[in-house]
Each structure stands twice: as structure tokens, then as C-alpha cells.
């Protein structure tokens, strides 16, 4: 079996991994809908958005790999890290759930990524700024699409509304993590690489309130629960998604076709 790679504990590298892993893991989750979406238009939409996210992950992970002394390739970072070395927030690794869950998560993550890419256009790293310039256009389209569906389902039938409320109650628990600062955020902000997590909280809440208002849904009350994927401490679901993603490269090192 192909052994795991070891990463330096550089906060700026970890900042990049948090972004790249968010795109990578959500892209994988959305790809799971291929052949399973409720209507064919959404089968196409979810896989198209997955493709955009994987493309964004490739850009950011390539940049992260260049900053390692071992000059890792994007595929090594995507497929040969141990679970604790993935730094995506727990929110994106939760199983895909039903369509309401996927739509509401997409609205939350696309809104968050859109705000992040907007800020990253001014990154001190020219390559990251260039990736952000492209990704921003894609995230805006994703946010629009998810928001349209959130309104349709939230303000829809009794059944669609019931499912939206259940999804929202569960997803909301995992959102405070997106905005919690730590030493990685402080280093990124100080160097000009990108904003600290907390800087996106107010604009995110404002845009989410607007979407939820239009969907006649109410944001749930905040709880004391805190997820910790951005620190590498994941939910029980992370191991399963990684084993599916990594199986081939672990069993057949360097396999290509």
C-alpha cells in the first residue's frame, strides 16, 4: 500500500489546505448525486458544481504542494494524506442527506466561498488571487442556484418545508466553525494571504438571512456544539469518504488512465 505523505506544519500552508480541502470534499459529496438526483436537471447541476469545486481544489492544492519542501503534486495531497491532515470544516464532509439537505448546505457553502474568494482576489499570493478571480464567478452561480432551490423548497409543499427545516436544524450546528479564528487565521491575515475566518461571519449571516427569509425559513438558535474539522479533528463520516477517495491510489500507487 502507498504510504501517507507527511506535511510541514506551516500555518500558511494549512490556510491553503483548509480552502482546497473544502472544495475537494464538497466536490466529492456532490459527485455522489450522479445518477441519484430527483430530476435530471439537478443531476447535471450537482455534477457540474462538483466539477467546478474539484477544479478549484486542484488549483489550490497545486499551490499548496508547491510550498512544501517535497514539492508535492496535487494528487499526492488529495489522495495520500491521513485523515487528521485534511483541514476542511466538518460541514462539507457530512453525508449528502436528502435533496433539501444538499440544497441548503450548498447555499451555506457557496455563500461562504463566494465571500472568501472575493477577499482572496486581493491576496498577497498572486496565484491564489488568480484562482479566486475565476472561482468567484463559479461560486456566484452556485449560490444563485442553491438559493433559488432553497426558496422553492422552503416555501414549497408541507413535505419540502418539513425536510428543509430538519436539514437546516442539523446543518446550522456546523456553521460556527467556519468563523472561528486561530493561529492559522492570524498568520494568514498578518501576511496578507487572506482574511481571518471571523471576518466573513457578519456578511455571511446577512446573506444567509436574506436567503432564509425568502424561503420563509428561520435560522436556528446557536448552540454550544462546536465541530472541529478545520483543526483536523473530523466527524465519523470523514474516514468513509476518504477511504472511497483514496482506495485506488493507495492500492495502486501512481495509478493513471
Amino acid at each position: 500500500m502507498q504510504a501517507s505523505i507527511q506535511l510541514p506544519t506551516d500555518p500558511l500552508l494549512q490556510y491553503l489546505l483548509r480552502i482546497g480541502d473544502t472544495c475537494l470534499i464538497l466536490g466529492q459529496r456532490l459527485g455522489e448525486w450522479c445518477g441519484h438526483a430527483p430530476i435530471i436537471e439537478e443531476d447535471i447541476a450537482l455534477t457540474n458544481m462538483a466539477l467546478d469545486l474539484i477544479g478549484q481544489a486542484r488549483g489550490v492544492l497545486t499551490l499548496a504542494g508547491d510550498q512544501c519542501p517535497q514539492d508535492y503534486h496535487e494528487d499526492q495531497l488529495a489522495f495520500l494524506r491521513d485523515e487528521r491532515d485534511y483541514l476542511n470544516p466538518t460541514l462539507v464532509e457530512l453525508p449528502r442527506g436528502d435533496f433539501a439537505f444538499t440544497v441548503l448546505r450548498n447555499a451555506m457553502v457557496a455563500t461562504w466561498l463566494k465571500l472568501l474568494w472575493e477577499r482572496l482576489r486581493d491576496s498577497s499570493d498572486a496565484e491564489l488571487a488568480a484562482i479566486a478571480g475565476k472561482a468567484l464567478k463559479e461560486a456566484r452561480y452556485h449560490q444563485q442556484h442553491a438559493a433559488d432551490w432553497a426558496v422553492r423548497l422552503g416555501d414549497g409543499t408541507d413535505e419540502s418545508r418539513r425536510r428543509c427545516e430538519a436539514a437546516l436544524a442539523r446543518l446550522w450546528l456546523y456553521t460556527p466553525e467556519l468563523f472561528e479564528d486561530d493561529a492559522i487565521d492570524a498568520a494568514a491575515r498578518a501576511s496578507g494571504l487572506g482574511p481571518a475566518a471571523s471576518e466573513l461571519r457578519e456578511p455571511w449571516l446577512a446573506e444567509m438571512r436574506e436567503i432564509l427569509d425568502a424561503a420563509t425559513l428561520a435560522p436556528p438558535a446557536e448552540t454550544t456544539f462546536r465541530s472541529s474539522g478545520r483543526r483536523g479533528v473530523h466527524s465519523e463520516h470523514m474516514g468513509y469518504i476518504l477511504s472511497e477517495m483514496q482506495y485506488l491510489q493507495r492500492a495502486f500507487p501512481g495509478g493513471a488512465w
Binding site: E41, L51, Q56, A126, E138
Partner: protein
């Protein structure tokens, strides 16, 4: 040889790129698509600078390969492709010829891109008016926000009843 009458190597390369089709929308060339930023003559080699369309567009690698092959086949090589991400590609860079060819092929070309910093409108949004590439009617409706490739959405013409694809403005 009279240099003023003979096309330069880079001019000839641009002409070659005008005939390299986009692998997913073969009606138009990579040059008409607006992804060729520069052609640089380094003497020993020719450098073609491309800007990718979408982050995850699977055609990007095929385009690199077909560009190199076309330049080499025209005797202008060896060619190498480099990627320039900034500024990000926009459909505003699709040429007038490219737009006409898209329409003739049955794909509604993109309108001008919207303000990329405007907030997302959730309610009360008016659908973008897209003219049917077949009959020209503006009485069309969107069937799907996403289509067979990353760059397109699906529409239907209410007047002539034909479905068609729309190149999304980004």
C-alpha cells in the same frame, strides 16, 4: 525574402490557432473563444499563453495538446503552452465571428456579463432574455441552469418549440 510581405511566425501561429476547434464546442476555434492571450516567439520554441475557461473544465488538457499538435504540424514548432489565470477568462472575450458561429451551430451566444460584485438577487429576479438561435424569438425559457458542459445552460424556444443551449455569460 521581404519581411513586410511574409507573415511572421507569430502571425502564422495566430492563423493556425484560428483553425484549432474547441473540443467541446467544435463550432468555434480556441482563438474565437478568446482563451489565447499571447503567442511568444522564443526562437527555439513558440510559447502559446492560454487562459482556462472554468476551473474544472476537462477540455483544458485536450486544448493544450491540440494547440501544440497544430503548431507543430504547421512547421512552426516546437510549441509549448503556458497557462495564465489572471485576469480570469470572461465570455466577453468571445469574438464577433465566434458569436455568429455559435448561433449558426444552434447555441445562443452569451450576452454581456453582469456586474460581478452585485449582490445575488433571490426574489423578483427577471430571467435573462435569450434569443432563440434558430428563429430569433425572444420568447424563450430556461429549462436547466446547467448543461452538457460547464459553460452552457439549457433553454427552450416557446415560439418554435425547439430546445437549444445557451453559452452562459461569466
Amino acid at each position: 525574402m521581404n519581411a513586410t510581405l511574409e507573415a511572421t511566425r507569430t502571425e502564422r501561429a495566430w492563423a493556425v490557432l484560428d483553425a484549432v476547434p474547441d473540443p467541446e464546442v467544435p463550432a468555434i476555434s480556441v482563438r474565437e473563444l478568446g482563451i489565447v492571450r499571447e503567442v511568444l516567439d522564443h526562437g527555439a520554441s513558440l510559447e502559446i499563453v492560454l487562459t482556462p475557461t472554468y476551473s474544472g473544465c476537462p477540455a483544458t488538457e485536450v486544448i493544450e495538446q491540440s494547440v501544440c499538435e497544430a503548431i507543430d504540424a504547421a512547421g512552426l514548432g516546437p510549441a509549448r503552452v503556458t497557462m495564465r489565470r489572471a485576469p480570469a477568462w470572461t465570455t466577453d472575450w468571445i469574438s464577433e465571428d465566434g458569436r455568429r458561429k455559435l448561433r449558426d451551430y444552434g447555441i445562443a451566444p452569451p450576452g454581456p456579463t453582469a456586474d460581478g460584485s452585485a449582490p445575488i438577487r433571490i426574489v423578483g429576479r427577471r430571467a435573462e432574455a435569450v434569443a432563440c438561435p434558430r428563429c430569433g424569438s425572444a420568447h424563450t425559457e430556461r429549462l436547466s441552469a446547467f448543461g452538457s458542459t460547464a459553460c452552457k445552460a439549457l433553454y427552450r424556444c416557446v415560439a418554435c418549440k425547439e430546445p437549444f443551449e445557451h453559452f452562459k455569460p461569466i
